[in-house]
Amino acid sequence: MSTAQPQPRAVTGADYRRRQTIAAWTRTGVILVSSVVLLFYVLAPVAWLVSSSIQTEAEIVSVPPHWIPEEPTLQNFRAIFKATEEEEVTYENRSGVDPAAGGFIPSTAQNLLPAMWNSFLVATLVVIFNLLVGVPAAYAMAKIRYWGRNGSVYFILITRVIPDIALVVPFFLVIRKLGLLDTISSLVITYLAITVPFTVFILIQYFEGLPDELDKAARVDGCSRLQSLLRVFLPLSLPSLVAVVLFTFLTSWNEFLLALMFTQTEASQTLPILLASFTSDFTISFSFINAAGVLAIIPPVIVAILFERYIVSGLTAGAVKG
């Protein structure tokens, strides 16, 4: 240890105040700079995606790129929405570019809206069934003492952590045997298997937080188990129910791997599958792919922003998301 430590200068009042001000300014500066960096990090990729989606094909291939489109156009979105209603996008009326040079709008553009509809339908069905199965299960595990209760809680945890890719093969064989390949129900069934454990896990924690006396009081007043669940617990657990619904919806909307295995035609293809098929086709217009990407991110982003509070509380309660 060295002994020659310089004595700190005596701190006067003015010195102290000045130091405080400097510290405060530094703090503000650091916060400001890092906020800007963070904003840029999060938003720049998305902004670029959106910006590309409204550029014309001629503009999007400029080098260096135009960060802000000079002549913004909605032609890509128009193509997506019109494709189903009025005219099919065909080889003749695509953007009028030589397909060899790339940059045309694929005929599968007309599948985009149905695929979105499929995604929406699957997600909604999964949410409904998920609640029907998950809520009673969570209630039972939280409030009814029965043999094997702890076992089932751990079991639920275990099913949550198995990688989807490990389940793909058996799921595929089962679904094929049931003759459900390329149907929406195959997706609903398998997504339920993924999402229900998560629902149960979050709800158990919430139900356990509610006092047992509530349950007892309801039962003394002559409620059945079911009534006690419906009339007492559900209204109280609304916030966590919202979180569960949101997660289930987003998981189903975003899921890719299982949908890739089970769906083949537009009868059941979900949006991610169609997007993926665009990306592997080099002839398709870049701005069109980006427009499709924008369409795919709009619903989940809106949901996330509207329900931010519920999502954060759900994430922290569940601590893990599937």
Binding site: P45, V46, A193, F256, M261, P272, N290, G293
Partner: protein, 274 residues
């Protein structure tokens, strides 16, 4: 409950059963029972080990990056300032975006002809000609990891933020009284208190990273060469392109067991709260 069991348990057991067969859809009538041969074959398979190595690279890189970035962001969001709520809401955007859209977005950013990455670096004079980013064997996996990190940081941040918020203010007061500066307060109070949160984030993100599939499927399909040939991609190729369900299932099992070991820790951690 019974339904849940049926949907969740049956596939697991069925998959174990399958992994003992030499099952190929190209030869539907000959599916001999081979015990552990699928597993022992794997140990001698070069591509399998390549994929394990790639998976490890990908996982270590992304988990480390996620932990560091999420730590910085959560420290920022733990401060009180105007616009904090807006910032944390915006932070949720990457989390909400579907992985496929995320992949599509980064594919376009990395695009060799007209991508943003080339554009930025070119305009800033870091490169004098456009590069084929994803075609570079040495860089591919890190670029994919970057896309993965971008998407996973919000969740990790939220988890860390909870731990940060739970550190009692008294601790800081006490440290201040003892004469600890900002840096000392950070290393002696903040970091040790965040350990449980960190463990959770690391384990969870590791689990997510080793099983990750979507980005590899869309960005590179395992290429160039075998530069991004990770385990989950290997399973996919083996099962659905080579249609060899038996060895696919065997590999899935190995992956599942690794995840289980990790999960054991996460469950022990969470189990305290259940």
């Amino acid at each position: 409950m019974a339904v849940l069991m049926a949907v969740a348990v049956f596939p697991i057991l069925y998959s174990l059963w399958l992994s003992f067969f030499r099952m190929k859809l190209t030869r539907p009538n000959r599916t001999p029972f081979v015990w552990f041969e699928n597993y022992t074959d794997l140990l001698g398979n070069e591509l399998f080990w390549v994929s394990v190595a790639r998976t490890v690279t990908f996982t270590v890189t992304s988990v480390a990056a996620i932990a560091v970035i999420a730590l910085l962001v959560s420290l920022l969001l733990n401060q009180d300032f105007r616009g904090r709520r807006v910032l944390s809401t915006i932070l949720l955007i990457p989390w909400a975006i579907p992985y496929v859209a995320n992949a599509l977005m980064w594919k376009w950013i990395y695009d060799s002809g007209y991508g943003a990455l080339n554009g930025v670096l070119y305009q800033l004079d870091f490169i004098d000609k456009y590069m084929v980013w994803l075609g570079d064997q040495d860089k591919t996996i890190f670029l994919i990891a970057n896309a993965f990190v971008w998407k996973e940081v919000p969740l990790a941040t939220i988890l860390l933020l909870v731990t940060l918020k739970s550190i009692p203010a008294d601790l800081y007061q006490a440290a201040r009284v003892d004469g600890a500066g900002i840096w000392q307060r950070f290393t002696h109070v903040t970091l040790p208190s965040m350990k449980p949160g960190f463990m959770l984030v690391m384990i969870y993100e590791t689990m997510m990273a080793i099983r990750h599939f979507d980005l590899f499927f869309i960005l590179t399909e395992g290429g160039p060469g075998d530069a991004s040939h990770v385990l989950s991609w290997h399973i996919y190729v083996e099962t659905f392109r080579n249609l060899s369900f038996g060895s696919g299932a065997a590999m899935s099992y190995i992956l599942a067991i690794v995840t289980f070991v990790l999960a054991y820790f996460i469950i022990r951690f969470l189990g305290r709260r259940v």
